[in-house]
């Protein structure tokens, strides 16, 4: 049944998108920065893993290295670029532009080194299918759901149960207060960027296993993820994830009635609806 298959595909993509959304949301809620370069980190992780796999590094290790490297890159962007801009008392607009510049730099270095063509992971196991009832899933899809749900659960647990997670939420809700009670916001920002970037690396590697790598392929997922974050309610980790899954499902189901090139229209349409009727999102804390 086509609709069921599309639904399942949507759930899988949604889990990946959900992690992007949650990771972006973590950064946005804490630093208040619309970190556009996040799409660059997402893309970089995939290419890094690809290079490692091609060199014979075992798959899991490649993934882990990609996540650690992404954490480092994210932390560096915050610690070197954003922190320096804040030191120079840059306006919000200036930081946004710098972030966009960083995105352009990352995407185009990748395009220059790896060519703009689509690259595939040389992993035969990734496209082998298993059948569950009427539905067929690739091993990649199964792995995506398992790992991304795990990452989501991990971030939820971290945010609500660990001291560091609570500190981060404190800084997010009141950086001034955090500053005067000896929680150093800059330290927290670097930590959050590291965690968020590592998290985004996960779908950054898993999604291209099926779809292939493309240097400019990070912007559309990021856009969809930010829409999910807004629709879910900024600050609501569960809300972002849920909405990401919802949007992905709707995108996939829309293939029943319209060609795939227009799926961005579905996403944007959902955004417009929220913008007009519920701009604060579904699950905003009051």
């Amino acid at each position: 049944m086509l609709a069921l298959q599309l639904l399942i595909n949507g759930l899988v993509t949604g889990c990946a998108l959900g992690v992007v959304s949650v990771s972006f949301g973590l950064i946005y809620a804490t630093t208040k920065l619309f970190h556009v370069a996040h799409a660059g980190v997402y893309t970089l992780a995939g290419y890094l893993a690809w290079s490692l796999v091609r060199q014979g590094v075992p798959d899991i290790v490649s993934l882990l290295i990609a996540m650690v490297a992404s954490a480092a890159v994210g932390a560096a962007i915050q610690g070197v670029l954003y922190a320096e801009l804040e030191r120079r008392r840059a306006t919000h607009l200036v930081v946004l532009i710098a972030s966009l510049g960083m995105l352009a730099v990352m995407q185009n270095i990748i395009a220059a080194v790896y060519t703009p063509n689509i690259l595939q992971f040389p992993l035969p196991w990734s496209s082998r299918m298993i059948g569950i009832g009427n539905v067929r899933l690739t091993w990649t899809q199964v792995l995506t759901v398992v790992l991304c749900l795990g990452a989501f659960a991990g971030i939820m647990w971290f945010s609500h149960r660990t001291i560091l997670g609570k500190q981060i939420r404190a800084v997010a809700s009141n950086p001034f207060l955090a500053e005067i009670t000896r929680l150093r916001p800059q330290r927290v920002y670097v930590t959050v960027m590291a965690i968020g970037s590592a998290a985004a690396a996960l779908p950054g590697v898993l999604v291209p296993l099926d779809l292939g790598l493309q240097p400019y392929g990070g912007v559309t997922p990021l856009l969809t993820a930010t829409i999910a974050m807004i629709a879910g309610g900024i600050g609501s980790i569960g809300g972002s994830f849920l909405l990401a899954v919802g949007i992905a499902v709707l995108q996939n189901l829309s293939l029943l009635i319209m060609p795939g090139e227009w799926s961005i229209g579905v996403t944007f349409g959902i955004f417009v609806v929220f913008m007009l009727f519920r701009p604060t999102g579904l699950f905003t804390r009051r």
Partner: protein, 287 residues
């Protein structure tokens, strides 16, 4: 000589387009990456009108400007009412959607192959076919744009926008409508971008989606950032410099396969460098 005319005319079109970005980003402080999309809408409208002989160049240009004004208002009004960051998402969405439409709506935009063979512009029936006349046209159009920009900057509206950029809350407390001013700025920016698009289409006689994508919007931002925000000299310097960049790069032996990425990489580096070390650009005021 032909080459020089091309460079000048193209740079002038980008000056006009850059005024639109400068108005939004530099003066009103609104981050936008969708100016290339609006540019494209203006270009495709004029191209379509001329190719199907619906109206002459001047009415087509006015139509394109009007449509772009409406487009910008529809896009900014609901999203700016919520917040600036909301508009960032909207802007990205509009840009990506526009590219999707430009590439896939083969009936209207010719799809990925674009629209070749756009007729030359005419001034109420009198065709402008020589390079000299075309450059005269772009110079006139850009001249009008610069005059309008200058008048705005000197008028109370310009002062209001500068105040909004500094402190919206204080402006609201002073009794002035902030959203209305921002949307007006966006509407005006639409007129600039739409007319620039129309001039672009007739000058090049060919348009395709690659001139109106996210990379193009990034180039526009780079022009404003490098040239400088909020000043007329900055708006003129930016496009002339950035459009000379590909020629300068030609002296370095860069393989054509990575030429495009190299250019975009440089734009990204310029954005970062200027934001860190010279936010006022070469001839502008601090962003």
């Amino acid at each position: 000589m032909d080459f020089l005319y091309s460079y000048i005319a193209l740079a002038e079109v980008y000056v006009l387009l850059g005024l639109s970005t400068n108005l939004l980003v530099g003066i009103a402080g609104i981050f936008t990456v969708s100016q290339a999309a609006v540019f494209g809408v203006g270009a495709y409208i004029v191209a379509y009108c001329l190719m199907h002989e619906i109206v002459g160049f001047v009415p087509a240009l006015l139509l394109a400007s009007a449509c772009c004004v409406v487009l910008n208002v529809l896009v900014t009004l609901p999203s700016l009412r919520v917040s600036g960051d909301y508009f960032v998402v909207t802007s990205f969405g509009i840009q990506l959607m526009a590219t999707a439409i430009f590439i896939n709506w083969t009936g209207g935009t010719g799809g990925a192959n674009g629209l070749p063979g756009i007729p030359p512009p005419d001034l109420f029936g009198f065709p402008l076919e020589s390079n000299e006349l075309l450059v005269l046209l772009t110079t006139a159009g850009t001249g009008f744009g610069c005059l309008a920009f200058w008048l705005i900057m000197r008028a109370p509206f310009g002062r209001l926008l500068r105040a909004i950029r500094e402190d919206e809350l204080a402006v609201a407390a002073a009794g002035k409508g902030v959203l209305r001013a921002k949307v007006s700025a966006a509407a005006l920016a639409g007129a600039f971008a739409g007319s620039a698009g129309g001039l672009y289409a007739t000058f090049l006689s060919f348009v395709d989606p690659s001139s109106f994508d996210l990379d193009a919007s990034i180039l526009l931002l780079t022009m404003v950032v490098v040239g400088g925000a909020r000043t007329l000299p900055g708006s003129i310097l930016g496009p002339f410099l950035l459009l000379a960049l590909p020629q300068a790069l030609a002296f370095i032996d860069i393989p054509t396969s990575i030429a495009a990425s190299a250019r975009q990489l440089i734009y990204g580096l310029l954005l970062i460098a200027f934001m860190l070390f010279r936010p006022q650009g070469l001839a502008g005021e601090k962003l």
